[in-house]
């Protein structure tokens, strides 16, 4: 089958142009993807990992023909995404997270029937294929209910069934676990892993490190529209070698204090994550420097919770890569 790669992206770029306002039109430009290059082998499960706004969805839409690249090119199963659109579309499935993308006032069965027709599943295969997929995603028995009554997780599973109707060679999954409860998310990961093990190429985007770590053969970390690191989970983990991580739970840390932490000797990166009322400060330092006492001194007078010093995890490697890009 021609190309050895399922997906080839070559210096993909995409700029969104928008005009706002009628009287005094203002042009805005967003460079969402700035030169992305990678390849995905047939049957590989490839992860695109990055924070919100990194350009993951845009990259997926460039590859699945929904958007035309501003420059650069890409091929899916050897077919150019811009010129051989229909050839590409025949071979791909697209599933995105969230609860949109379905006909709410129709039943799951009607949704699947419609898309089976649209995606050219042969009439005599439709019944069997739909039953198979309803079984696979655990919706058998509920298929005659209207989708508007479905839970988030059920919708997500219906989405997946829909994306698989025409047995695509390449499946694009854009943050499929968003807003899904932990149990459903685990089921979903198992379904994805099963698909990959039976030969489907999967390109998965996520902003959960753990999800990428568990599922993916290789991961590209994307931030700010370009790839910051690419490798197996083990290779990425090595990025954080020679570091130590101090985690501090705090309440009401001013910006200035975080800046001060960054300037401490031996500190490589700092990150702040809001978790409800409290903030989680993560301070990466060289492994041989003990910065914990310096950190606590800088935070004097601020209400603190748990303080912890530990070995870096893959999550820390991800934080290190992303914050180095910022």
């Amino acid at each position: 089958m021609g190309s050895t790669y399922a997906i080839e992206a070559d210096d993909l770029r995409r700029t969104y142009r928008a005009r706002t306002g009628w009287l005094k039109p203002k042009r805005t430009e967003v460079e969402a993807v700035r030169g992305v290059t990678f390849t995905v082998g047939r049957g590989e499960l490839f992860g695109l990992l990055g924070p919100n706004g990194a350009g993951k969805t845009t990259t997926i839409k460039l590859l699945n023909t929904l958007l035309i690249p501003t420059s650069g090119s890409a091929r899916v199963c050897g077919h150019d995404v811009e010129r051989e659109t229909r050839e590409v579309r025949r071979r791909i499935g697209y599933v995105f997270g969230g609860d949109r993308g379905l006909y709410d006032r129709l039943s799951a069965l009607d949704n699947l029937r419609y898309f089976a027709e649209l995606y050219g599943v042969a009439p005599r295969d439709q019944k069997r294929r739909i039953a198979e997929l309803l079984d696979l995603v655990g919706l058998a028995g509920r298929e005659r209910e209207r989708v508007e009554g479905y839970s988030r997780g059920m919708r997500q599973r219906l989405h997946i069934a829909r994306g698989l109707l025409h047995s695509p060679d390449v499946l694009f999954l854009d943050e499929p676990s968003i807003g899904v409860d932990p149990v459903a998310a685990r089921e979903l990961r198992r379904t994805v892993a099963d698909l990959a093990s039976t030969g489907t190429t999967v390109l998965l985007t996520t902003h959960y490190m753990a999800e990428a770590d568990e599922l993916c053969d290789r991961i590209a970390v994307i931030a700010d529209g370009s790839i910051q690191a690419l490798g197996t989970p083990a290779e990425l983990r090595r990025r954080a070698e020679g570091r130590r991580v101090v985690e501090v739970e705090a309440y009401g840390v001013p910006e200035s204090a975080v800046d001060a932490l960054r300037d401490l000797p031996g500190v490589r990166e700092t990150a702040v994550e809001a978790r409800g009322a409290l903030q989680l400060l993560t301070v990466h330092s060289d492994a041989h420097v003990d910065v914990q006492s310096d950190v606590l001194r800088e935070l004097a007078g601020i209400r603190l919770g748990r303080v912890d010093s530990r070995e870096p995890t893959l999550e820390d490697a991800y934080v290190a890569i992303v914050s180095a890009a910022a």
Binding site: L66, L67, R86, G101, R105, R113, L118
Partner: protein, 256 residues
């Protein structure tokens, strides 16, 4: 064969999805009554029975037109909202085959407005439903619905590209009602509207229905109506292919 099957199933399912909207149901309950009433009060003074029926038919066709106009624009807008527009455009099909079932479905749900207007006219005001050519009337009604659906296709091409499609739909509702003589005969309109009326499929559809109602040569109008519709189909198909590409360049298939 498979394409026809896809179009038929697509049309039925879209009609199902559209007709289950609470907004549509509310409109469907109220509008035909209002239209039947309007027709009766506008024409009762003339005292002629068949003028009354003609007016009710005209009002019904206006209902089909509104359904197509807002349906084609609204359906595409609401599919953009639901995130289904991307999913259907992603099918390995010509764009025209993807959009056509939606616009025909709006014509189909609009037929209800035509029938309901006649039914209310009969029920509330005792309009006698004696058509001059009953069979021709049924044929003309089917052609009219298909014609409007195909005209909707042409509109849909514009709607895929424009995010604020509703604005356009709003400005088109009344002019087309008037110009194509759905309610008042074209002959009472200023002469500059005549060329516009002549190219609108709605004009010929409404005329065919009027002729079938009160007598006249129905078939020429039906023929012209079909001809213009096929032209709409060809133009719509061409422009949708062009528009799909532009939408992918301008990122207008999704909301954000």
């Amino acid at each position: 064969m498979n394409t026809l099957r896809m179009l038929a199933i697509g049309t039925l399912l879209h009609a199902k999805q559209i007709s289950r909207s609470p907004f549509e149901i509310a409109i469907a309950l109220v509008v035909p009554v209002v239209q039947a009433t309007l027709a009766v009060y506008l024409f009762r003074s003339s005292g002629e029975q068949h003028r009354l029926l003609e007016a009710a038919v005209g009002a019904g066709v206006m209902g089909v037109w509104s359904s197509v106009l807002f349906g084609s624009g609204g359906a595409i807008q609401s599919q953009r909202w639901q995130g289904t527009l991307e999913m259907i455009m992603l099918a390995p099909r010509r764009p025209v085959l993807v959009i056509l079932p939606i616009t025909i479905a709006t014509g189909l749900t609009g037929t209800y407005a035509l029938l309901a207007t006649l039914a209310w006219g009969r029920l509330l005001y005792g309009i006698r439903l004696d058509f001059a050519h009953p069979v021709a009337f049924v044929v003309a009604a089917v052609v009219c619905v298909v014609a409007l659906g195909l005209f909707g296709l042409l509109l849909a091409a514009t709607f895929v590209l424009m995010r604020n499609a509703n604005a356009l739909a709003n400005t088109l509702e009344y002019p087309v009602w008037l110009v194509s003589g759905m309610l008042v005969p074209i002959t009472v309109l200023p002469s500059w509207t005549a060329p516009i009326a002549a190219v609108l499929p709605t004009t010929w559809g409404a005329r065919a229905l009027r002729e079938a109602t009160s007598g006249g040569p129905v078939w020429p109008s039906v023929g012209i109506c079909l001809g213009i519709s096929l032209l709409c189909l060809a133009l719509g198909a061409l422009s949708l292919t062009h528009v799909e590409r532009r939408a992918r360049a301008a990122a207008t298939l999704a909301l954000a």
